[in-house]
Amino acid sequence: MARALEGIRVIDLTVWFQGPVSAQYLADFGAEVVKVERPQGGDQARGVRSIKSLEIGDWNQYFLVINRNKKSIAIDLRKPEGQAILYRLVEKSDVFLSNLAPEVLSAWNLGYEKLAGVNPRLIYATNTGYGRFGGVSKPSFDMTVQALTGIMARLGEPGQPPIYLGMGSGDAYGGIMSALGIALALYQRRRTGRGQSLDASLYGAQLYLAAPYLQAFLAGHRESALQHSRRDVENPLWNLYPTQGKWVYLCEPNEDARFAALCRALGEPSLAVDARFASTEGRRRDCRALIGAIEAATSKRDHLQLMTALGAEGLVASPINDFADVIRDEQAWQNRYFMKAWCEEVQREVDIRGLPVTLSKTPGEVRTLGPQLGQDTEILMMELLGYEWEEIEALKAKGAIP
């Protein structure tokens, strides 16, 4: 099968989540991604042993899934000899990606000017916390940056604590934003022959997670910053309702015919003739009363009964599933959003998140899960970078490589 990014080599000097995800997208579509890690312990994500106090089991799915399809070379970049190895790799590469702090990269002589001097065609990508400009430099993690964007504070019922979008939610978004930037730069370079530097920060990306609401706020709609109750939404036909089982999300426009169908599905003829709810405007004005009435009806049955009744009237709705439902969801497996992959660590097939971007002719693939730390160091140095074995021995003696 053809690979869209065949022939593109990426240096992946990233740790934890955002940076590795960004390079994962490139690796999935066929780029040769070389993960550069410190010899002692490598990427810190290799050390993850539990998630939400749950043991992660016998394989580290945090690290292995987002570092799939990658090679690993272990280099001590604090040493000049280690930096020299990286420069050789830069000569042979198209993209350099890092989510280490810019100060660290400078201290290791890996700033843009230095690497562009080695390879003027290089695309130099960073994932900073708060952007390249403006002077803010402090530790950045998914949740502490998400906190600043305002997205957390507007979610949840009024009076409830803010809502975090989920572990890694912002990192995942920063990761795809960064992958987009790199792809743009690669496309341009094919035409101009010139490299450049780019940055997709965690802050800049996460602002777009709330784009419709933040944009409304910037335009003066102050209320979009605040929590809103589900008991008080303008269109009661587009809302979530409790049942005796799962909650159900109803997604219908506020139109007379749809409301009539809903009343039939709920078996509530009295609602259909209630003068307050006889028009779009009335349903909007008396939304609290109508939401209460719909909820009273949905609460009498379980979600399966309710879904059947809604479906019979052609109403669009979904039960609000949990992960136990999702991992069995045929739609996710058929579209390869979930896949099976061989895990060397445990010598069996495991279930992983697959390919969320579907290209019909170059669909991407998962060839291997994440590499062992430094597994490709020697072979890459000999075959790609042209080192003699004696030189490799000498570099080992100096501690530049393990």
Binding site: A4, I51, K52, S53, I56, Y130, R132, F133, G134, G135, K138, T144, A147, L148, R154, L155, P161, I163, G166, G168, S169, A172, Y173, I176, M177, L180, G181, L184, L186, Y187, Q188, Q196, S197, L198, G204, A211, Y213, A216, L218, G220, L240, C251, V316, S318, N321, D322, F323, E330, Q331, Q334, N335, Y337, F338, R353, V357, T358, L359, S360, K361, T362
Partner: protein, 398 residues
């Protein structure tokens, strides 16, 4: 200065926020993105959206685009559309497949006149499978993803965030450029699909992957109270004296404990908390209660200062007024100020990707309906001025 995509012509068939946003990313980097406006229902919608207040949404998601209004129900309009399709490198759409086919805008029809086209679509649930033709509604997709029940505090209703739709927009733009990179090498076009379902699942990446691997666990199926988090110093929320919330991400508590305990007024060698094991397992709940009480002793401004001084990975949970006035966002053009002809100086979301040689630019605000019809027909199809004014008088273009 060159633009990354200035050799591309893109047809924008979108009517939802996420679809428009996806094509915006291409327009921001120099692609010529042309929105096709149809007669009838679409027109009423556009008219009702226009009004006395700034259409801030259109000036975000449709900035840098052009607009062509074409009567595709007339034979001459259809012929022009077919000619236009022949000039398109990329189609970006969030329409349903049936709608596209009815107007000859589906992949099969477009690739018949433009074999190397990149045809990109945001779907609800992906190109294959039993639910491939469910509508592209983000709430439906989010509901299927398993994440909504576990976001709130226990006992609270599920939470819809809208983040999945934003994820889909960037994923589709990435898919388009990836497909273009393949086309640069091989000349081959293809279809790109990103679904709201798949995008929502990637936003919930770690939880879903953990459940896929572990296959069980109440702590992954049900909300976890903020007073029962796994690590009191990571992923936790505490109220401050002024009601604003504090959040901490310091998973390696050994590293942070000396500075952190001092800032909170807890003795560094307090025997209840003097090891990672004690802080996150043996006395976890006790530490949570302790932090809950201590954070409420000072306002959020105090905590922000402390976090900055000690370079801690912690911050205050802000509302939108914070990004609206944060100079860091101006410095990086994440939020921009622009001169609107009708509404003066206004603020808008800017550009999340910085590129040194080909930065994103604001060239124009959202086009009016049909604003570029004549220009596009002239430039792309070589129609003469006379022909264009005749088409306009016949109502074929507007």
């Amino acid at each position: 200065m060159t633009r990354a995509l200035d050799d591309l012509i893109v047809l924008d068939l979108t009517r939802r926020f996420f679809g428009g946003l996806s094509a915006m990313f291409l327009a921001d980097f120099g692609a010529r993105v042309i929105r096709l406006e149809l007669p009838s229902a679409e027109r009423a919608e556009a008219a009702s959206a226009a009004g006395a207040s700034w259409n801030h949404e259109a000036d975000l998601i449709h900035r840098n685009k052009e607009s062509v209004a074409l009567d595709v129900h007339a034979a001459r309009g259809r012929a022009l559309l077919r000619e236009l399709l022949g000039r398109m490198d990329v189609v970006v759409t969030d329409w349903e497949r049936g709608e596209l086919a009815a107007l000859g805008l589906d992949h099969a029809s477009v690739s018949a006149v433009r074999p190397d086209v990149i045809f990109a679509r945001i779907s609800g649930f992906g190109p294959v499978g039993p639910d491939a033709d469910l509508p592209a509604i983000d709430e439906l997709a989010a509901a299927r993803t398993g994440m909504m029940p576990i976001l709130p505090q226990p006992g609270q209703p599920p939470v819809y965030t809208g983040a999945g739709a934003m994820h889909s927009a960037v994923m589709l733009a990435f898919g388009v450029i990836t497909a273009l990179l393949h086309r640069q090498e091989t000349g081959e076009g293809q279809e790109v699909d990103v679904s709201l379902f798949g995008a929502n699942m990637y936003g919930a990446a770690l939880d879903i992957q953990a459940f896929l691997a572990i296959g069980s666990g109440e702590r992954l199926l049900n909300p976890i109270s903020r007073l029962d988090v796994s690590n009191p110093m990571s992923g936790s929320l505490y109220p401050s004296a002024d009601g604003r919330w504090v959040t901490l991400t310091m998973p390696d508590t050994d590293r942070w404990w000396p500075a952190f305990s001092e800032a909170l007024g807890i003795a560094r060698d307090d025997p209840r908390f003097d090891t990672h094991e004690k802080r996150t397992a043996i006395h976890r709940l006790e530490l949570i209660r302790e932090l809950e009480e201590r954070f409420q002793r000072q306002p959020s401004s105090h905590w922000r200062t402390v976090f900055m001084e000690k370079q801690m990975s912690a911050d205050i949970i802000e509302q939108f007024d914070y990004p609206a006035r944060d100079p860091q966002l101006r410095a990086n053009r994440y939020v921009i100020e622009l001169d609107h002809p009708s509404f003066g100086r206004v603020q808008s979301l800017g550009f999340p990707i910085y590129m040194s040689e080909s930065p994103a630019r604001l060239v124009r605000l959202a086009p009016c309906r049909g604003q570029h019809s004549a220009q596009v027909l002239g430039e792309l199809l070589g129609q003469s001025e006379e022909a264009i004014s005749e088409l306009a008088s016949q109502g074929i273009i507007a």
